[in-house]
Symmetry: D2
Subunit: 107 residues, 4 copies
C-alpha cells in the first residue's frame, strides 16, 4: 500500500458515508490536531527514556500505533482534499532543510 492508495481508500470511505460535506480543509486540520492531542496524552508524563521504550508494553504499543495511524489518516485525507502531493512537498522541504542546516563540519 502506498500513500496514494491510502488517499483513494479514504476518499471512498468518506463518499460511502456521505461525510464529504464535513471534510472541509478547516475541519480536517482540527481533526488532525485532535488526533495529535491524543498522541500527546500517551507521552505527556513519560521521561525521555520511558518514551523510547513505549512499545515494550503491548497495550501502550497498540495505543501508540493507533494514534500514529489516525494522524496519518487525517493528514493524507487533508492533503487529498486540498490537492497537495504530500511526498513531493516533503521532499522539497527536506531539500530546503539541507541548505538551512548544513551538516556539522568534521575534524
Amino acid at each position: 500500500m502506498t500513500l496514494d492508495d491510502l488517499a483513494l481508500r479514504l476518499r471512498d470511505f468518506a463518499a460511502a458515508r456521505n461525510w464529504e460535506p464535513f471534510h472541509t480543509p478547516k475541519n480536517l486540520v482540527m481533526a488532525l490536531s485532535g488526533e495529535v492531542g491524543e498522541l500527546t496524552e500517551l507521552f505527556q508524563w513519560l521521561t525521555p527514556e520511558e518514551s523510547a521504550a513505549v512499545l515494550d508494553d503491548p497495550g501502550t504499543a497498540h495505543d501508540v500505533r493507533d494514534e500514529l495511524a489516525d494522524v496519518l489518516l487525517y493528514l493524507v485525507r487533508l492533503a487529498d482534499v486540498l490537492g497537495v502531493d504530500l511526498l513531493a512537498a516533503a521532499e522539497a522541504k527536506i531539500d530546503r532543510n539541507e541548505h538551512r542546516f548544513p551538516p556539522e563540519s568534521v575534524g
Copy 2:
C-alpha cells in the same frame, strides 16, 4: 519516493547533524504538535469556504504545502524512531473503521 525512502533520508539527516539525542519519541511528539499548531494558524480565521480555496493564493499555497510537509516529516521520523510501520498501522486502522462505521444503507 516512498515513506520508507523518506524515513531513511531523515535518519541520515539527523545522524549527519548529531541530532539523534534530541530525537526522543517524547520530543518528536512535541515537534509534530508544534507543526500542527503552525498549520492550524493558517486556517484559524478562514470560513469553511475560504479554507477550501486556500491554494488559490500562491503565497498561502506555499505555506500550506510547507506545513503539511513538516507534519509528515516529523510523523515519519517519530514512527521510524519508534519502529512503527506507519502504512501498516494506517491500513489496520481503516480496516477497523470500516466495521465501526458501516456505510449508510441506501434507499
Copy 3:
C-alpha cells in the same frame, strides 16, 4: 475564587498525591496541549454557526465547560511551576497588542 487561589489549590492537590516530580514544565505543556486537543475534538465537525450554539445541548455544554476547565487548570499549574504571573503577562501582552493592531479609524 481567583487565579491565585486556584494555583494554590492545584499546588496542594499535586503535593498530596506526590505528583510534583511529574509536573515539569515540559510535561505540563504537553498536558495542556492534550486538553486543547480534547476541546478541539468537540468543535471539529461543527459549522461556525453550530459552534456558536454549542451550549444549547446540555450534554455538549457539560463537555465544553469540562475541557475549558482542564485547559485553565493546566495553564495555571504550568505558570505556577514556572513562577510566571499569568494576569500580569496577559495585561502586558494586550498592552502591546493595542499598539500592534490600532483600532480601525472611523469615517
Copy 4:
C-alpha cells in the same frame, strides 16, 4: 486585574477592530490551539531539567511569558464568547478530581 476585567478588555478590543465576526467559538478554539503550538515549540527540544530552568535566560523567559499570555487571552475570549464562567468551571472540575484521585494514604 481579574479574569473578568480581562474578558471585558478583550471584548472591547475585538469590538474596536470589528473582529467579532471572526471570533466564533470554532475559530477561537483553533487560535488557542495555535498558541499552545507556539508554546510547545519553546519546550520541544529541552530536557525536563532544562524545561524547569527555562526562565533563567531572559530572551526565552520573555517568549515563554508571551506565549502563556496568548494562551490565556484566547482561552478567556473563547469562554466569554461562549458565556462560560471559567473559574467556576475550574472549581467544579477540581472538586470532581478530588474524588476521582484520592490523595495517597499515608503510613
